[in-house]
Symmetry: C2
Subunit: 326 residues, 2 copies
C-alpha cells in the first residue's frame, strides 16, 4: 500500500474537561489532571459518522489528486456504525456523489483496530491484483454511548473521522509487516452491549438503556494487553525486518494517556517517535489511529520514504500493528 492522501476531521463542537467537571459537580480540573485530556470533539446537529467521514475522505482524495470516480472500493472501518443497515461505507459512497457509480462499498470492524485491519485487507487486494485505488475511512461518534458517571469509560473519548487514499505500490509492497492477535477471553473487558440483536428495547427498556453505555474494566484491559505487548511487538518487528531505530514515527491508537505512556516506555529509545494527539482529541475509537497518522504526515514528522509503525489495542482484546513505508 502507498498512502497518497489523508484527511482528518473533528466535530465543530468542543467539550472541555472543565465543562464535564462542572456538569458532573466535580472540582474543576479533576478530569484534566486525572486523565490528561483537555478537550474532545462532540458531534452535534447534522454531524454523523458518514458526514465527518465524507469530509475526511474528500480531503484525502484532494491531497492524492484523485477523483472519487477513480476509486476501486470504498472501505469503511468504524467501530460502531452510524446505523446498522446499510453500512457506513454505503452512506459515505453516496455522500461522495458515487451513489450511481457501482463502486463496491463494504465495512470492516475490529473496534479500535478497524482502520489497521482494513488497510491490511486493502494491501491484500493490491497484492492479489484486484484493486489499484482504495479509500479507507474510520469514523466514530463515541459521545452517543457515554456515561459520565463512570469517568474512566467516558471522559477519555472524543468524536472524529479520518480517511486515507491508498494505492497499490509499484514494486514490493509498502506494507513491510502486519500482525494481529485476538484474545476473546477478554471480550467482557470493553463492551457496548445494546444496539445489536441480543439486548433489545423490549421487553425491558431499563435494562436496554443500562446496556446502551460503553463499559470498560480499565485495569483489566490494561493488564490483558500490557502482558502480551512485548512479545507481540517483538514478533511484529521481526516479521517486518525493521528495528525500532529505523522508524521515523510510531502512530498508535490513542487509547488513553496511560496507554500512550506505557507504549513510550515499551519502545524505550524510540519513545520520542510516538505521535500523541490525545490531549485535544481523546480516544476517537477507530478514527484514532488514522488521525494520528494524518497528524504525523501534516506535521512533517513522517516524510516520503520514511518508515512508520501503526500499532494499538482494541476491545476483544486484540493487538495489531503494521510497519509501512510512507
Amino acid at each position: 500500500v502507498r498512502i497518497q492522501g489523508s484527511g482528518a476531521v473533528r466535530p465543530v463542537q468542543r467539550l472541555s474537561s472543565d465543562d464535564i467537571d462542572r456538569r458532573m459537580g466535580r472540582t474543576v480540573g479533576w478530569t484534566a489532571s486525572n486523565f490528561a485530556i483537555a478537550e474532545r470533539g462532540v458531534a452535534s446537529g447534522d454531524e454523523t459518522s458518514s458526514s465527518l467521514a465524507a469530509e475526511a475522505a474528500r480531503a484525502a482524495l484532494d491531497v492524492a489528486g484523485w477523483r472519487a470516480e477513480d476509486l476501486d472500493a470504498v472501505v469503511g472501518a468504524c467501530a460502531v456504525m452510524e446505523q446498522p443497515i446499510p453500512g457506513a461505507a454505503t452512506l459515505v459512497q453516496r455522500r461522495l456523489g458515487l451513489g450511481d457509480s457501482g463502486i463496491p462499498a463494504f465495512d470492516v470492524n475490529a473496534t479500535c483496530l478497524s482502520f489497521l485491519v482494513a488497510l491490511d485487507l486493502a494491501s491484500m487486494g493490491f497484492a492479489a491484483g484486484r484493486w489499484r485505488k482504495v479509500l479507507v475511512f474510520s469514523a466514530d461518534i463515541a459521545s452517543a454511548a457515554l456515561n459520565f458517571d463512570d469517568p474512566e469509560a467516558s471522559v477519555i473519548f472524543g468524536d472524529g473521522a479520518a480517511a486515507v487514499a491508498v494505492e497499490a505500490a509499484p514494486g514490493p509492497s509498502a506494507m513491510l509487516g502486519f500482525r494481529m492477535e485476538t484474545y476473546g477471553d477478554g471480550a467482557d473487558l470493553c463492551r457496548l452491549e445494546a444496539g445489536g440483536t441480543r439486548v433489545r428495547p423490549a421487553p425491558d427498556i431499563d435494562a436496554f438503556l443500562a446496556a446502551a453505555s460503553f463499559r470498560m474494566d480499565g485495569p483489566g484491559v490494561f493488564k490483558a494487553t500490557a502482558r502480551r505487548f512485548p512479545r507481540f511487538l517483538e514478533r511484529l518487528m521481526a516479521g517486518s525486518g525493521v528495528s525500532l531505530a529505523d522508524l521515523a514515527v510510531i502512530a498508535p491508537h490513542q487509547a488513553s494517556a496511560a496507554a500512550l505512556e506505557h507504549l513510550r516506555r515499551s519502545v524505550q529509545a524510540a519513545g520520542d517517535k510516538v505521535i500523541d494527539i490525545f490531549a485535544d482529541h481523546g480516544n476517537q475509537i477507530a478514527a484514532s489511529m488514522p488521525s494520528a497518522l494524518h497528524h504525523a504526515i501534516t506535521s512533517g514528522r513522517l516524510r516520503r520514504g520514511d518508515l512508520a509503525l501503526l500499532v494499538g489495542s482494541a476491545a476483544g482484546v486484540s493487538l495489531a500493528g503494521a510497519v509501512i513505508r510512507y
Copy 2:
C-alpha cells in the same frame, strides 16, 4: 479458496406463517400464500448470533477435519451484530475455545452480501500468502427487529447461522471470478436506523423505538436491483470465463420468493440450478447465502470439482457474485 467444510444452524424454535396470521388477526394461510414461506427459525433462550455461529463453525471444522487451533483467522460476516463491542468474530473465537489463542478475529459487513465479501477477502489473503486456513461465518437474528404490522418487511425473515472452513487452494485460485457493485443512491430503500450512533434512545425514546424495526421499500429495492442485474451478471460471468451452462448450482441469497423467481427467469435454462431453501428458512440476511451453499453441498447437488455461482443483492443497494470451484 477451497471450501473444506460447511455447517448451517437454525434456532430450535420454529414460527409458522399460520401462527403469524393468527397473532396478527389475519386469515390463516394469508402469509404462506402471499409470500411463499411456510415457517422460519426464531432465536429464543440463550440463542444468539455467536452461539448459533459457533455451532455452525464447529460443524464446518468437523467436516474439514480441522482443529479450531489450526485457523489463521476467524472472520465474522454478519449484517447486524449481536452487540456493537466487541464484534461477533471475537465472541465466536471465544466460544470455539480460542480465547487465549491469539488467532486474529475481525468482522466484515455488507449486509446480506457479507459472506460473499468475506469469502472474497479470504481469497485475497490466500493469494497474498497471508493465510492458509480461515473460518468465515455469518449469523443474523432478524427476529430482533421485525414489525409484523408491515408484512413485506417482516414475514420473509428467519434467524440462522452458517459457516465455512476455507483453505488456500493449491495451484490457481478456486475463485474464478468476483464482482460487486454498490449503488448508495438506494441507501434508504432497506434500512435499520436505530442501533448505531445516529438515532439514540435519548431524548426521544418513541422515535428510537420506531426506528428500531427494519424498513423496506420492496418495489423500490426490486426495481433498483433488477434493472442492474442483467448487465451485472453478464460482466461477472464474462470475468469468470464461465457460462451459466457450466455451473452445477446457483446458490443465491434467499431474499424472497419473488426475488428467487426473478433470478430463475434471469438465468433462463439454468433456472433449475437455483438452490431455493426459502420456504422453510426465509431470508436469513447474511446467513442466507452460506446456508444455501451448505444445502447445495449436503444435498449432493454440488460435488467436488463442480462450479457454483454465489450471487445476491443487499441493502445499499449492492449486487455481488462469485464463481467458485468446489
